[in-house]
Structures are given as structure tokens and as C-alpha cells.
């Protein structure tokens, strides 16, 4: 084991390298590109025995990944944002093929307007695809989660592809100390890929992903995906326990921080949860019983684990780094569904923040805790709040003024 400073992108690449992936179909997109560059460099230098092929789009990349996995090799790929959405048709398709492989998504806000900075609308657009999803908050977690993801995907009770998500910039380009496990230790955790007889061979012709007629067969195969995804909850716990025993690092499906005696719990996913964790420490210093819950698994959704931590609390502040226009935050609805009708279900206040890399500074987290406590006091669920400060609005007004001046200077369109 070595302990080095790695970016989240480098940690993802190390995860793929240690997993001894055979095949990397690739396509560049910011902020993911470093991952495939690192893999290409290792492969060219002979440090990694894999084949990397750059496709002409993410749609093709995901198709090639699925077809290669269906042929029986271990596959890795990475994308971001527009790329994930460009390949969306194939995310659903290859999940239906029941091929295990791992796709790293480096989260980035979606167009329009086009941006490079992160939020979770990209990866949440894949929520219903059949891919399982693991969300990371740190660089070590990225490396470890790639390894966990292969074990999970390839388990005979699951056989579904997995997305490992990390936030663009905040993790992708941020160096943190990361322990790189010895290859032999990883080999013991992750044996070579066994396609379990489901692979294309001349001597054993196989038709895969054929059309069905009627809702009966269609529903049957879709339900199979649901059952496999549900199996993944228990399988994940097994694998995470095995991993913790081997490596001494715990990556539960849901990470709870200071939740046991908390009255108000902040709920967040991804790297911004580390900001909430720091805010919890400050609030605790001030004598406020606040905790943090961070689901690492989004699919399958660890509803029972969330309930275990949350039933009996006074209130939740769910902070979504995504926006479902006309509804609000996606994680808020996931939690509401997990808690609805259960005795002791807390009040749920929903906040939208961190879109397109917008910061959520400590003061906002304190304010969120205060607003949530007050709502619990009144017993009234507040409407979803969109985080934005007066200072930000003033800055935006300046930009609008400049835009107006520029427009007027050019005069009316001919």
C-alpha cells in the first residue's frame, strides 16, 4: 500500500487499473478527460494490460462497452454531463442486457446554459436507467468505490452495470491523500470476471436483447432488473463489510455523521456533504443537535437504512444539488418516499443549492439548519427553497446591465 496525493480523476483511473480492466472504450469530455488520459498513458507504457479505443461519441462508447461486456471482458469507461446524456439511450439499453461493467461519471451541470462546473442533474438523469449508482464524497472513496462497483456489478445476484459518481472540479481536480492498495490485495477482493456462460462464442450461439411482443415478456424482463437492483442492497452490504475487513475503510450504503442524538439532520450526496459535515461540527460546538446523513447508494435506494437513521428525528433538511423543474429536489422526493406514512417520520424541508458549481458556504448551512428547526417548531413544511444570496443577485444584475449595454451599442437588428 502506498499513500499519495491523487486527484479524484487519478483515483478513478487507479481504481480501473487495480481492477485489471480489459477494455476501455473512451470519449473525451471535461472534467473527465484526465481519467482516460491516465489510462491511455499506462496502457501505452505497458504498465496496464488493457485496450483503449476512442469512439466517436458517448452513445457509441456505451454501446461498445456493453457489447464488450456481453462478450465476456471486464470493461471500464468514464464520462460527464452532456456525454452521459448523449449516451442515455444506451444506458437503458445495456442495463437491459444485464452486462456488468463500471462507468465513472464526473458530475457537471447540464446545458442550457452550458457550463463546466458540477451539479448532479447529469447523473440523476440516469437514475431510472437500471444502472446502479454510487456517489462519492472524497478521492479515496472514488478509488475504493470503483473496486466495490465491480464486485457488485459482477455478482451473480446482481449482474447490472454501475455508475460511480464524483463531482467535477471539487473532486476531479482536487488532490487528497489516497491509499493505493497493493494489486495482490485487490486481486483477492476482486477475482477475474466470470461471465457465467453469458458470452458470445462460436460453439455456443446466443441471441441477446431480442425484441419481445407484448407487455407480458417485456414486464417480466423489466421486473428482473428491479429484482436484481433490490438484491444489490444486501449484496452491497456484504461486499462493503468484506472491503472494510481487508482494507480497514468503511463505505456503508448510507453514511451517518452525528445522527444518533441529532434532532435535525442534513441530508446530502457527493463532495458538498463534506461542507455540511464541517457545518455540523460548528453547530455542535454551539450546542445544536444537528447531524448529517449521506446516501452513497442512490440506486438501489437504501430506504431501510435511511429510515433506521431518520425515523424519530424532528426534521430533515434535504439539500439537493440538482433541480427537477416543476418539482424541486430529486433526493427530497426519494427520502419522502422512504419515510411517508412511517411512524416518527420527521418534517422534511427541501433546499436546492450548488447548481453549476455554486458554493454552499457555512453561513447558508447554518441558515438551513435554523430554518428547518423553526419549521419543525411550527410543524409546517416549508416550500422548496432555491439558495441564492442578495450579493449574487447584485452581481448578476451587473452582468445583465453589461449585456444590455452591449446589445444597445449594436443597435436594433436590421
Amino acid at each position: 500500500m502506498r499513500r499519495v496525493l491523487l486527484t479524484g480523476n487519478a483515483a478513478a483511473a487507479w481504481g480501473a487499473r487495480l481492477a485489471r480492466v480489459d477494455y476501455v472504450p473512451a470519449f473525451p469530455i471535461t472534467p473527465q478527460t484526465e481519467i482516460i488520459e491516465a489510462l491511455a498513458r499506462w496502457i501505452d507504457a505497458g504498465e496496464m494490460a488493457a485496450r483503449l479505443v476512442t469512439l466517436e461519441s458517448e452513445h457509441s462508447m456505451i454501446t461498445a462497452a456493453g457489447a464488450a461486456a456481453a462478450t465476456g471482458v471486464r470493461v471500464f469507461s468514464a464520462t460527464s454531463s452532456q456525454g452521459l446524456l448523449y449516451g442515455m439511450e444506451m444506458l437503458y439499453t445495456v442495463a437491459g442486457w444485464r452486462v456488468p461493467w463500471v462507468l465513472v461519471n464526473v458530475s457537471r451541470g447540464l446545458s442550457a446554459p452550458i457550463t463546466l462546473e458540477p451539479d448532479h442533474n447529469d447523473v440523476l438523469a440516469a437514475r431510472d436507467s437500471g444502472f446502479l449508482q454510487i456517489h462519492c464524497a472524497g478521492c479515496q472513496e472514488v478509488l475504493d468505490s470503483v473496486l466495490l462497483a465491480y464486485r457488485l456489478a459482477e455478482d451473480a445476484r446482481v449482474r447490472l452495470p454501475v455508475i460511480v459518481n464524483l463531482d467535477g472540479f471539487y473532486l476531479s481536480f482536487t488532490r487528497e491523500p489516497v491509499s493505493i492498495p497493493e494489486p495482490a490485495e485487490v486481486d483477492a477482493l476482486l477475482p477475474p470476471f466470470d461471465p457465467q456462460g453469458l458470452a458470445f462464442r462460436a460453439g455456443a450461439p446466443l441471441s441477446q436483447a431480442v425484441a419481445v411482443l407484448g407487455g407480458g415478456p417485456y414486464s417480466y424482463f423489466r421486473y428482473q432488473v428491479q429484482l436484481a437492483a433490490q438484491n444489490a442492497l444486501a449484496v452491497y452490504d456484504e461486499i462493503a463489510a468484506d472491503f472494510a475487513e481487508r482494507f480497514g475503510r468503511s463505505h456503508p450504503a448510507v453514511e451517518a455523521y452525528q445522527c444518533d442524538d441529532a434532532e435535525v439532520v442534513l441530508v446530502m450526496m457527493g463532495s458538498f456533504a463534506t461542507k455540511a459535515r464541517a457545518a455540523v461540527d460548528r453547530l455542535r460546538d454551539a450546542g445544536r443537535p444537528v447531524g448529517l446523513l449521506r446516501p452513497r447508494l442512490l440506486r438501489p435506494f437504501p430506504a431501510a437504512a435511511c429510515r433506521r437513521h431518520l425515523l424519530g428525528k424532528r426534521a430533515l433538511a434535504v439539500i439537493d444539488q440538482n433541480l427537477s423543474p416543476g418539482q424541486g429536489g430529486v433526493l427530497a422526493t426519494e427520502l419522502a418516499a422512504a419515510l411517508y406514512g412511517r411512524p416518527g417520520a420527521p418534517l422534511l424541508a427541501s433546499f436546492i443549492g450548488g447548481l453549476g458549481g455554486r458554493d454552499i458556504p457555512p453561513e447558508e448551512l447554518f441558515e438551513i439548519a435554523r430554518v428547518t428547526e423553526a419549521a419543525a417548531e411550527r410543524g409546517e413544511t416549508p416550500p422548496p427553497r432555491l439558495l441564492y444570496t442578495e450579493a449574487e443577485l447584485r452581481e448578476l444584475r451587473k452582468l445583465q446591465t453589461i449585456a444590455a449595454v452591449e446589445r444597445d451599442r449594436r443597435g436594433p437588428a436590421p
Binding site: 480489459d22 477494455y23 472504450p25 485496450r51 479505443v53 469512439l55 466517436e56 461519441s57 452513445h59 457509441s60 462508447m61 454501446t63 461498445a64 462497452a65 456493453g66 457489447a67 464488450a68 461486456a69 456481453a70 462478450t71 465476456g72 471482458v73 470493461v75 439511450e89 444506451m90 439499453t93 442486457w97 458470445f200 462464442r201 462460436a202 460453439g203 450461439p205 446466443l206 441471441s207 441477446q208 436483447a209 431480442v210 425484441a211 419481445v212 411482443l213 415478456p217
Partner: protein, 307 residues
């Protein structure tokens, strides 16, 4: 291919054992299926077909398939990328000693013109550019036939389709997919038609002998989409060749060679008259300008070939 190089010197040499199962849901008289039957006789069961959305997606409907080999339905746009992933995976497995070479498969894309001329063009271009070792079979029925023959990038000028139903028909021109392939300098490219089995067999034989990207572009007379009686599929296919509308040719070693040049081309009208989609060129009154444009297009093509 010279006669000395081919095992198909006459129709007597054509395969007598047919490998593709019958009783599929394709329409009666499907010119695409006619070509596929012949291609599959040589391709055989040691093949993996990556299918793009189209009529032939319905060949394999759970739990039945007419294929003796393997099949993976992908999507409309990315069958060549599926071929890339499968080919690469097979190569990796053979190189690692995890797959005995005799378990290796030929990787084949099966697509209609809707994907080949349009949505799948980017993925196809990428696969050719990467030198992928695959066979790319197009059944070109000149429209989005599976959805009821709306016009596609393969639809010829003046054809009536479900989205060019009235007036002079489709205003555009048929895209030259063969030329697009040739511009990529592939290992092999050929136009074929099911009604010319000997020419087709030699081209399949040729394609299977070469590594790299290979095109078999089959004009697929479509009784349903072109509006003719299914029993006339072979006749219409022959007319397409004899009138010069569908030139049979192949590209190899950097050269385009015409494999069946009609000595005396039959009038283009003989082909157009057989199909309801061109009936408006003749009834209720003859559209001389449109017919002249068709003749000019075919004449110009062959003038460029024959000089």
C-alpha cells in the same frame, strides 16, 4: 474477382444448403430477406450479428430466431459501435488465451437504410476510420419501411412515400452511400441485389476473405413500401440492374470496378412503371420532366463509368 479466383463460377456452384430459418415476420417478397438468405448461406453460424433498429429487428422475436449464429440487438444509431466492442473483446480474449481461436466469431452489422444513410452514419464512419474488422450489411429499401415507408436519406427522387404522398413525390436525391464508404478507403465495399445471386455470392466470398471494414449494400425491393405485388421482387431487382438504376460494383485495392455492366440498358421507365411509388410519373398523365430527370441521372452515371 476473376472467375479463376472464385468458387462461384455458375449458379450451380451456389450453396444448396440454406442456413437462415424460414417463417420470419418479414413481408412476403421482401428483397432484403432475399439478399440476407444468400449472404447468410456463406456467412454461417460462426457469426455475431449486431442489429440496428429496422425491419429486420423483428427477425429475432423472443424466444425465436432464424439465425444459427449469435445476435445482439443494439439501437438505431450505434450497431457499428457494438461491433467494435464485440470485436475488441474477442481479440482481447484470444490474445489472453481465454478464448480458443476456433471459438472466435465474425462480427457483422445488419442494418436498414434508415440507420445506414442517416442516424448510424457517424458510428459507421468511426468504425471504418478505426479499421474495424467487420462486415456491414445494408438492406436498402429506400425509406423508413418498418414504420410505414416514410422517406429516408436513401429515398430516390420523385418516389411517393408516407411523408411525400402527393404532387411530385420526394423532392430530394438518393444519397450515395457506396461513395461515402469508398471515401473512407475501406477494405472492401460492394453493391449487391438478391436478384443477381452469382454476383452477390462472389462479393460475399470476396468480403469474407478480407480483414477490415467491408460493406455489402443490397438494394431491397420492398413490395409494401414500393407498392408492387410480392411475386415481382426478383423481376424488379433484375430490372434495377438492367436499366442501370442500381449499378453492381465493388471497391477493392483502391479501385471501383463494375461487376455487371448491362450491355444495352433497358429504358428506365421499365423499372419505374413496376412500382406504385412511381405511378404518378405515368398516370393520370405522363410527367415528362420527372422521367427525363431520372433518365438523365442514370445516363450521366453510366457515361462517367463508360468513359
Amino acid at each position: 474477382m476473376s472467375e479463376q479466383e472464385t468458387r462461384y463460377r455458375s449458379t450451380r456452384d451456389l450453396p444448396s444448403l440454406h442456413l437462415l430459418g424460414t417463417g420470419t415476420p418479414m413481408c412476403a417478397g421482401c428483397g432484403g430477406l432475399e439478399a440476407l438468405h444468400q449472404i447468410y448461406d456463406q456467412l454461417g453460424e460462426r457469426s455475431l450479428i449486431l442489429n440496428a433498429a429496422g425491419c429486420m429487428t423483428l427477425l429475432a422475436v423472443y424466444p425465436y430466431t432464424p439465425f444459427r449464429g449469435s445476435w445482439l440487438y443494439t439501437a438505431m444509431a450505434s450497431a457499428p459501435a457494438g461491433a467494435q466492442g464485440a470485436r475488441d473483446a474477442l481479440d482481447i480474449l484470444v490474445a489472453q488465451g481465454r478464448l480458443p481461436p476456433e471459438e472466435d466469431l465474425r462480427v457483422v452489422v445488419l442494418t436498414g437504410d434508415g440507420s445506414a444513410y442517416g442516424m448510424g452514419l457517424s458510428a459507421t464512419s468511426g468504425a471504418i476510420e478505426r479499421g474495424l474488422d467487420f462486415l456491414y450489411i445494408v438492406y436498402d429499401n429506400e425509406g423508413y419501411a418498418n414504420t410505414g415507408q416514410q422517406y429516408s436519406g436513401a429515398t430516390p427522387h420523385a418516389a411517393l412515400t408516407a411523408t411525400s404522398r402527393l404532387g411530385a413525390g420526394f423532392p430530394g436525391e438518393k444519397k450515395d452511400l457506396f461513395a461515402i464508404w469508398v471515401a473512407h478507403r475501406p477494405a472492401y465495399a460492394a453493391t449487391v441485389i438478391g436478384a443477381e445471386p452469382l454476383d452477390l455470392a462472389r462479393k460475399v466470398e470476396q468480403a469474407l476473405a478480407i480483414r477490415g471494414p467491408k460493406l455489402l449494400l443490397a438494394l431491397a425491393p420492398c413490395p409494401t413500401g414500393w407498392d408492387f405485388d410480392p411475386q415481382r421482387t426478383v423481376e424488379i431487382g433484375r430490372l434495377a440492374v438492367q436499366t442501370g438504376v442500381w449499378p453492381l460494383k465493388e471497391y477493392r485495392d483502391g479501385q471501383v470496378v463494375h461487376t455487371k455492366v448491362p450491355r444495352e440498358r433497358k429504358p428506365v421507365e421499365d423499372y419505374l412503371r413496376t412500382q406504385g411509388r412511381f405511378r404518378h410519373l405515368f398516370e393520370p398523365e405522363r410527367q415528362d420532366a420527372l422521367i427525363a430527370a431520372w433518365k438523365a441521372r442514370v445516363g450521366t452515371y453510366w457515361a462517367s463509368v463508360e468513359t
